[in-house]
């Protein structure tokens, strides 16, 4: 069976509920099954990328640690909405993970080439 193009569109802040971490776990599973996985952080989802998180302070898993596993699962197409980053005053050096900033037009093209889009 051919690998599917699956985009994880992550738009939720990291600790309001467990959606974000569950979506990331699901992305790791898709990576294990050698699907063509990409991840786009958008809107409040870009807060998931911020360096220096410590979920243990509120007895939660640190989402930054989960994310650092992504490249080890062959998930290397990691993107962030450049508008969402700028709106929140986030620079690339503030982030725990190397991501490629995408313009709105680039995001439009990314979505168009997917077989499925999964949300957090």
């Amino acid at each position: 069976m051919d690998a599917k193009h699956i985009l994880y569109l992550l738009r939720k802040s990291p600790y309001s509920n467990s959606n974000a971490v569950e979506a990331l776990d699901s992305a790791l599973v898709a990576g294990v099954f050698e699907q063509n996985v990409s991840v786009l952080f958008k809107d409040d989802g870009v807060w998931q990328l911020l360096d220096g998180q410590r979920g243990a302070a509120i007895e939660r898993r640190t989402i930054g640690n989960v994310m650092q596993a992504l490249p080890q699962y062959d998930i290397e197409q990691l993107f962030a909405c450049e508008v969402s980053l700028a709106e929140r005053g986030l620079q690339l050096e503030d982030l725990a993970l190397t991501v490629k900033p995408l313009s709105l037009d680039e995001q439009r093209k990314l979505i168009a080439r997917q077989d499925a889009v999964v949300n957090d």
């Binding site: 985009l7 738009r11 709105l104 995001q107 979505i111 889009v117 949300n119």
Partner: protein, 86 residues
Amino acid sequence: MATLHVVNNQKALQSCLDVAADDDSVLLIEDGVYGATTNVARALLVLAPDVEARGLKERIPPTAESIDYDQFVALIETHKPIVTWC
């Protein structure tokens, strides 16, 4: 195939519109239908039962096309990918 964007709240609508291509379909469901009550500069679809439930029938402009559940299913069959904005 064009993309179907399904929007279930008004706050997510702008993020969707920012990246929706001109030939994509944008369907408002649940609380997303409130998004059709203000002018939006593109064609929108709304799920009729959600509009009716919220008393919005007279507030949705004629430019927004009302669809039923069967038509919703047909849209899913004729679009790829389906993107949910929630």
